[in-house]
Symmetry: C2
Subunit: 365 residues, 2 copies
């Protein structure tokens, strides 16, 4: 037996509780023996992904015995062109989770810490804790980031501030004008991770990367192919930054962190902006389809700039989540976020949204 | 401009030089404008991968908009069955590089360090350095691991020892008997990472995981689907360990670190051991095809238990490497390993090996 093994690990790892992902369909099938499951638990794209991606993947399959291009030449070129940046301003990640990890590993130590907002995407705090680095959690305002308080929280030892815009799981957002004021106030020892995983769904869209990085060289913009581009299963995210910052991030990055299929899929996905447009339209319609009936049930529905809604059930949400599972509908309980009365439901296809509403009626009645 | 940005990063990142991978074929095509390139630079499987994998990948493609199963249930079950372990003894990685990173992040801090061997796989030292952790490099013996000296180097602050068996890039190995004696000597605060990426090619094979982990609960065995299974492009590696160690590693692991396609490909690959057998046979023949002519040229060829040969050119190898590139043959210079006179050449198909020998003749004449 391994006795007291935690004695030997890094201090931050001792109390670390792993991230709780949305329940996979296969798990629910196995556990409850039910079929015909609707998963609205992980903010995935119900349209799937661009048909161009399918073609690119098929043609890349024969070459899987080769290592990926660790430099990611083709994808980084495409991203640089798309954003009006240079290739040396791009850092590729195995999903944007990997990018967040890379940034944390680059800047954080046991003495150099980070600031996150209450109710912000959970991976930020986990990544900071895994580094055994000091973590400050700044209270939210209306379930969103309080940028003024976050700027005031900066200490000499602060190296990173994580901002999710829009934020998951609450759907909150800050305006670009507020962000700009915030950025201007920060001292030079602080880098800002602006996580725009959901930018394609928001009214304001993401920041103009080239302009913002030019003006704020300590800004690190994270984006992903897992949401609007529908490639969550392939794990591709990226950071846009100044070239010196990207140089540092790429030192810490594992040399083959993105798979060959991820590289070709992302390149094909980026080229099909029509698909992103259809995704956004479906999402707008789905948000409308869901909101009115939910509010009609007397639930408080937070404003959302994402592809999901965050619902205050007015009572403990975990039993509701479990009852929905038995109806074959997977949503996301938010107890781990300190929001025990809230559920997050992703926007699905119209029939999936309807299925959720019916199941919720059944559960609440 | 970002001035003095290195001031703000973790100390280990300041001097970190990224890993230099084998040159991709696409890079050489782009740079020299040549075609018909033979790449023997990354110890890839020249047979490709099992046809069963191709079928599994094709059937998984439609589902890429979903996140992978973060728990890796199916693949972990298959690996546990294969090795006679339980699922909670398996940790999946985005290639074994990711597994090595996860282990380092679990056990190392600015005060808790690691021991590696001179000429050992470069990623170990880079991973330790990225953690700003103390690193001890123990001199090699005959280009291989000196286990006695490595055990003697253990300090109170030592947490990890990395052992590559067989080692890349030298091809050296230690016997299981030597390893057993080494393991028995270690104090309880030290975990051993036994990297068996090349086990399928070696005469002795890997250790019997179930028996060894039972006897040595501080042993962490790393294996990969990138070499004999031919799936380097998809990034799947794993660690086998005691359940308490796996529990720690899985806290640090990114929740979706292996792609959906990686999960299904690895499961299909594991089930086709005939393919691994054919791979081993091809490799044996290739090693014979290469060794005699190389020794005939007066080159010193190190003993190899891998799918590659390490050659002492008796003069600076970098110009030879570059001349081979112009012949359309990519091999690996080892200057970064402190072996400026050595080249590493991977075993390819018979015609690729012949092409290398001919090109080398041309370059050396």
């Amino acid at each position: 037996m391994v006795q007291g093994i935690e004695t030997w690990v890094a201090p931050g790892v001792r109390g670390l509780a792993p991230y709780q992902p949305g329940k996979p369909i296969s798990d629910l099938e196995r556990e409850l023996g039910i079929q015909d499951i609707v998963k609205l638990a992980s903010n995935e794209n119900p349209l799937g992904y661009s048909p161009h991606v399918r073609d690119a993947l098929s043609s890349a399959l024969p070459d899987m015995a080769r290592y990926p291009d660790g430099g990611g030449y083709a994808l980084k070129s495409a991203l640089a062109r798309y954003y009006g940046l240079t290739q040396d301003q791009v850092t590729l990640g195995n999903g944007s989770n990997d990018v967040l990890d890379i940034v944390a590993r680059t800047f954080l130590t046991h003495e150099q810490g980070a600031i996150v907002a209450q109710y912000a995407f959970a991976i930020y705090a986990l990544t900071v804790q895994a580094m055994s680095a000091p973590l400050q959690v700044v209270p939210a305002i209306h379930y969103g980031h309080d940028l003024t308080a976050m700027a005031q929280a900066v200490q000499v030892s602060t190296r990173l501030i994580f901002i999710a815009n829009p934020n998951n799981p609450t759907g909150s957002s800050v305006s670009q004008q507020e962000l700009k004021v915030f950025m201007q106030e920060l001292p030079p020892h602080v880098h800002v991770v602006l996580d725009e995983a959901y930018l394609e769904y928001s009214d304001e869209g993401g920041v103009d990367a080239a302009t913002w990085i030019e003006q704020f060289p300590r800004l690190i913009i994270c984006r992903t192919f897992s949401k609007a581009y529908g490639l969550a299963g392939l794990r591709i995210g990226y950071a846009l930054s100044s070239a010196p910052v990207a140089n540092l991030l790429n030192r810490v990055r594992q040399p083959f962190n993105v798979s060959s299929l991820g590289l070709v899929a992302a390149e094909a996905a980026l080229a099909d902006q029509d698909f992103v447009m259809r995704t956004r339209q479906l999402n707008q319609a789905g948000l409308q389809q869901l909101r009115a009936p939910l509010e009609g049930k007397g639930l408080q529905v937070l404003p959302s700039q994402g592809n999901f809604l965050c619902l205050d059930m007015g009572r403990p949400a975990q039993p509701v989540y479990e009852a929905l599972l038995r109806q074959g509908v997977i949503v996301r309980p938010l107890g781990g976020y300190g929001m025990p009365n809230h559920l997050r439901v992703s926007v699905g296809l119209p029939e999936e949204n309807a299925r959720f509403l019916t199941a919720l009626d059944h559960v609440l009645s």
